[in-house]
């Protein structure tokens, strides 16, 4: 080992990496909290207890729960169908699931405008039933679900492929039903991967901006999510308020990051 790494080179690389991470990640993170508290706790408190901010937080949380539930259900069913059976068109389905990954969030929002908006083919139908999707909560949820669509299934598919079908087949031959096989055999193997996917999905749903921005219409107190609320405050030059509200999301992000690391470590140690 003596030969490979001159200590100078090694230390230089480590320091360079720390510098990069501190400047690129840590300082922005700290700056949010610092700017938020710049004018003292009173101003901070006022900003985050503002009724519009609280309503935005509520909408963000509701949207996140919807996205999480829908995508978890979809992720499990899709991973099961795609890894437990062989059938034609499997690859096409896998590719289709991944499409939201490759698309700009703005385009994701645009897609729903083109379906449910005034020029969309579904608009007359919605009118008949007096429903609103675009510039309303359903549109926000739909856009968020779309953007986070692949997260859970993408984690589960490689995991379940690697695990193979032997155990499930054995259980099926002994007469176990689908639900029984899933909960007793498959789930214990994939639980950490499932949690990991759900954490990623939550993170993205909480912070989704572009797609939601397109379909929301920015109606304060109605269709404003927390990130959109931050945008409005920022563009109105209410910097302290914008950062105060951001700090809620920063705290959530740190919690998510810690959870992610715990889940990842557990998952790794279980594999070994």
């Amino acid at each position: 080992m003596r030969e490979y790494s001159g200590n100078i080179g090694k230390n230089a690389l480590i320091i360079l990496c720390f510098l990069f991470i501190v400047i690129m990640l840590l300082i922005p993170l700290i700056s949010v909290l610092a700017y938020a508290l710049r004018q003292g706790w009173a101003v901070f408190w006022e900003a985050i207890s503002d009724p519009y901010a609280l309503k935005a937080l509520k909408l963000t949380l509701v949207t996140t729960v919807w996205a999480l539930v829908i995508n978890t259900v979809f992720g499990i069913f899709a991973a099961w169908a795609l890894t437990r059976y062989r059938f034609r068109g499997q690859h096409i389905i896998e590719t289709l699931i991944d499409i939201p990954f490759a698309m700009s969030p703005v385009i994701a929002g645009l897609v729903f405008i083109l379906v449910f908006g005034r020029i969309g083919w579904a608009y007359p139908i919605l009118q008949q039933w007096d429903l609103k999707v675009v510039f309303a909560v359903p549109g926000i949820i739909l856009a968020t679900v779309f953007v986070t669509f692949p997260f859970v299934s993408r984690e589960l598919i490689p995991l379940m492929n690697a695990q193979g079908t032997d155990e499930e087949e054995a259980a099926a031959l002994m007469g176990a039903g689908t639900f029984h096989i899933f909960s007793k055999i498959t789930l214990p193997h994939i639980r950490w991967g499932l949690l990991y996917g759900m954490i990623l999905c939550t993170a993205r749903a909480l912070g989704e901006f572009g797609a939601v921005s397109v379909v929301s219409g920015h109606l304060r107190g109605k269709t404003n999510t927390l990130p959109l609320h931050i945008e409005i405050l920022f563009s109105e030059f209410k910097l302290t308020s914008a950062f105060a509200v951001s700090s809620i999301l920063v705290v959530l992000a740190i919690i998510i990051l810690i959870l992610k690391n715990i889940v990842q470590r557990k998952g790794k140690s279980e594999v070994q």
Binding site: E3, Y4, L13, I14, C17, F18, F20, I21, I23, M24, L25, I27, P28, S31, V32, F74, F77, W80, A81, R84, Y85, R86, F87, I93, L96, I99, M103, S104, P105, V106, I107, L110, V111, F112, I113, L114, V115, G120, F146, F149, T165, E169, A172, I181, G207, E208, F209, G210, V214, P227, E231, F234, A242, F243, L249, A253, I256, L257, K260, N261
Partner: protein, 289 residues
């Protein structure tokens, strides 16, 4: 012979797994996939047929649009290159060295995934503006970062950090250390060993990471929109132009720009996938050349 082959084909067609639940799981998958992804996407095509080709072409090649593509592409490309350099370095340091704070460093890599893009956007904009903590260090020298393409690139670097690190890291972990020892015994310096022995092994992962940063960078909105400043012909990025067109109710214009971006990111991901696959196939012993 003929009969047995036929039955085998048929058995393959209707999946013959003993595990129950095929119809249910595939049914749910296809229904949700259709409702959320396929039908909305198909609608784009339907909408597009309503416009004339000339109209489409005009927006597509509009000067402002062309400039927006260029800003998006060039900034994303620069960011991807920067991320490749630092991504390899970070992956190397995290895998090969043990030092205090290593786990913290490792845990922080995904921060850009966890932090909402809008928060990152306003934080970076403020930090790098003329009065900001970092921007004020550069301002006396006439260097502006926020509201320039430098700022856009910076935001894209931020967003792209995890991609290269996380695609290179597992490959580096699994690398056979003996090939490096072999190179050292054959007289190669550490740098030559890295360049000629390790780098080729990492290349497919680096390419994958590069492609992901590039594709993400071209479509990125939240973190960039604040720092970009949205000055037409200067710092207007393509996703923002879509937004602008939508606010003007110019759906045809928005859709045609979206189409360009979609095609662009698919071409990038497809090319990278092909390239990485080709390299992988060669070393796995497939028929090459």
């Amino acid at each position: 012979m003929g009969i047995s082959r036929n039955t085998r084909l048929r058995r393959h067609k209707s999946n013959n797994s003993v595990i129950p639940g095929f119809t249910l799981s595939l049914g749910v998958t296809l229904t949700m996939l259709s409702l959320i992804v396929m039908i909305p996407l198909a609608s784009v095509a339907v909408v597009m047929t309503g416009y004339s080709l000339a109209e489409f072409w005009a927006t597509l090649t509009d000067k402002m649009a062309l400039h927006a593509y260029w800003v998006s592409l060039s900034c994303a490309l620069t960011a991807a290159i920067i991320n490749v350099v630092f991504g390899i370095m970070l992956a190397w340091v995290l895998v090969r060295y043990d030092f205090p704070g290593r786990r913290l460093l490792d845990g922080l890599i995904e921060l850009p995934f966890a932090l909402p893009t809008a928060v990152a956007g306003i934080a970076l904009t403020t930090l790098y503006s003329d009065q900001g903590w970092i921007g004020s260090l550069f301002a006396p020298y006439g260097i502006k970062i926020s509201y320039t393409t430098t700022g856009i690139t910076l935001a894209l670097v931020f967003i792209g950090i995890p991609f290269v690190v996380r695609s290179v890291q597992p490959v580096l972990e699994k690398l056979d250390r003996q090939t490096e020892e072999a190179a050292a015994i054959l007289g190669a310096s550490p740098f030559t060993t890295f360049r000629r022995v390790i780098l080729p092994e990492l290349l497919p992962a680096i390419l994958t990471g590069f492609g992901l940063v590039l594709a993400r960078g071209i479509g990125e909105y939240g973190s960039v929109v604040f720092i970009a400043g949205n000055i037409p012909y200067e710092t207007q990025i393509a996703p923002l132009l879509i937004m602008v067109k939508l606010e003007q109710f110019n759906y045809a214009g928005a859709t045609s720009i979206a189409l360009v971006l979609i095609v662009l990111s698919f071409v990038i991901l497809f090319t990278i996938h092909r390239l990485a696959g080709q390299i992988e196939r060669r070393i796995k012993g497939g028929a090459d050349t």
